[in-house]
Amino acid sequence: MDSELPKAALAVHDVSDESLLLAYRDGDAGAFKELFERYRGPLFNFLLRRVRDRSRAEELYQDIWTKVIERCGEFRGESKFSSWLYTIARNRCIDHGRRMKFRAHDSLDAPRSDSGQALVERVANPGPSTEDLATGATLKERIARAVEELPEDQREVFLLRQLQGLGFQEIAEIVGAPVNTVKSRMRYALERLQHELGSLREDVQ
């Protein structure tokens, strides 16, 4: 893949992710900034909903971008940048999950700080009032909670699709599952969300 950006012919937002990364590898800091802008929000939200803990998500966010900066020389442009980025992110989330399991085994006697209720933005009262149900904020909170309660394999597919808009084939490559399995996970995730939030559905439509 050619890392030269045809600056005269293309606005920077028309340049592919892969060309931006290769341009950055060749010393163009502006190319990284554009790439970062494209992915910072979706990646952060992916991590937030995936690990369900804001401080861990921030830690992983920093760690993953640092890896991208340090390892961009390893990127040959043979795969999509998004696949590369989210494969790193997913692997880091899996490592994090293993560490958390280990810590949980290690501290069974310790008092629990997590009520298991809300995840990223915990609310004091999980039961919304009728008045609360009428507000968009509560609807959003309930959707966020329902997403975070999805089984892990469904949640990661859902997040990759919804937040970054990745195609099913690309998601299949990232999660290492057949494309039909990925589609089924997405369908189960949506059915589950719909079941959890069924009473709110008509408010959205």
Binding site: Y24, R25, D26, G27, D28, A29, F32, K33, F36, R40, G41, L43, F44, N45, L48, R49, E58, Y61, Q62, W65, T66, I69, E70, V120, G136, L139, K140, E141, I143, A144, V147, F158, Q162, L163, F168, N180, K183, M186, R187, L190, E191, L193, Q194, L197, L200, R201, V204, Q205
Partner: protein, 76 residues
Amino acid sequence: MNAEEFEAQVFELIEREAFDPNGIHELLAALPECREDFERIKGALALAEQLPLLEPPAHLDGVLLALAAAQASTTT
């Protein structure tokens, strides 16, 4: 397209509806048994669109962009 194929491609068909509504309506008219599934998934996707998005911390972004710039300057 039969019902099984429709089911397998329901996500693609929902996306297609945005630019080819007539084509999708014709398909649904020919496969009425698929309409409920199509509408249910479409409704769930509309619900999913409401997932709140949070901003990454600005100070972290600053640190990362500074790191990236420093790394780039060692390359040139």
